[in-house]
Amino acid sequence: MTTPDYPRAYLYKRIVAAKLFMDSHFSDDIDLLNIADEACFSRFHFIRLFKAIYERTPYQYLMSVRIEAAKKLLQQEHSVSDTCFSVGFDSLSSFSGLFKRYTRQSPTEYSHAYAARQEQIREIPLQFIPACFADQKSWTQKSNFEEVN
């Protein structure tokens, strides 16, 4: 199937629509060939155009969306196995391996590290805020913000 000579804007809209579809249906069993058909491209042209725009193949992009969604679920203290199946993986080992490749941490390590940081933010929030802003907001006991010149 050859791609008709549409104006570039129309081509972009179709590729972006496919990307947004993946963003909202990432946990489904997505058939990328169907997405290419829906966008009215041959599979070859769809992958080529997608990669030219997003610097990743549609499959690589879909995996990255699933991993980002997994991070959010782990932040909400979902279990690793629940997270795995919720974002569209059907194998715990595949999910864990891919997660570690993307984040350099296992899902469990990521979950624990995130929880520990959130605990620190809750307990000692001023540690995360530049002192000048904390003073300006009167979040510190003393204010030493004064003009130097």
């Binding site: 590729i15 725009i53 995360f128």
Partner: protein, 137 residues
């Protein structure tokens, strides 16, 4: 000697609305979201490829930062679109423009060829405007 910038502030009218805009529409990551007491919040976000640059979504409130009615003046200036806080970059301007439009981001200027390259202009939920350009090859 100064080596880098690690915080920059954008003044916003409502931090919850700004969270939705910057995180859910622009796709930024939350860096720090700290509750500082009733109605007080320290919220920073960062662009996906700059995890060390914290963009502070700064509430405009009466206090040491804004004295003697300055907070109200500042809110009006922000709402009028007085401030342009910077230039963002993307890999593909046309694709990013179509995607952000689909997500409800308001553009003041569609991708346009200028003498320095291609540029679009969008506004955030408070009224602040930003230039959006394409990464140079």
């Amino acid at each position: 000697m100064i080596t880098r910038l690690n915080h920059v502030s954008i003044f916003v009218l409502d931090q919850e609305s700004a969270y939705d805009f910057y995180v859910n529409r622009l796709g930024f990551q939350v860096h720090t979201d700290a509750a500082m007491g009733p109605g007080m919040r320290w919220l920073t976000v960062c662009p996906p490829e700059q995890p060390d640059l914290e963009i502070t979504l700064m509430a405009i409130e009466d206090g040491m930062m804004f004295k003697d009615g300055a907070a109200e003046q500042m809110k009006q200036l922000v709402q009028k679109g007085t401030f342009g806080f910077g230039v963002f970059e993307c890999n593909d301007l046309n694709a990013t423009y179509e995607e952000l439009k689909a997500k409800g981001v308001v553009f003041k200027k569609a991708p346009t060829k200028e003498f320095y390259g291609y540029e679009a202009l969008f506004v955030d939920d408070s009224g602040n405007w930003f230039s959006l350009g394409q990464k140079k090859d």
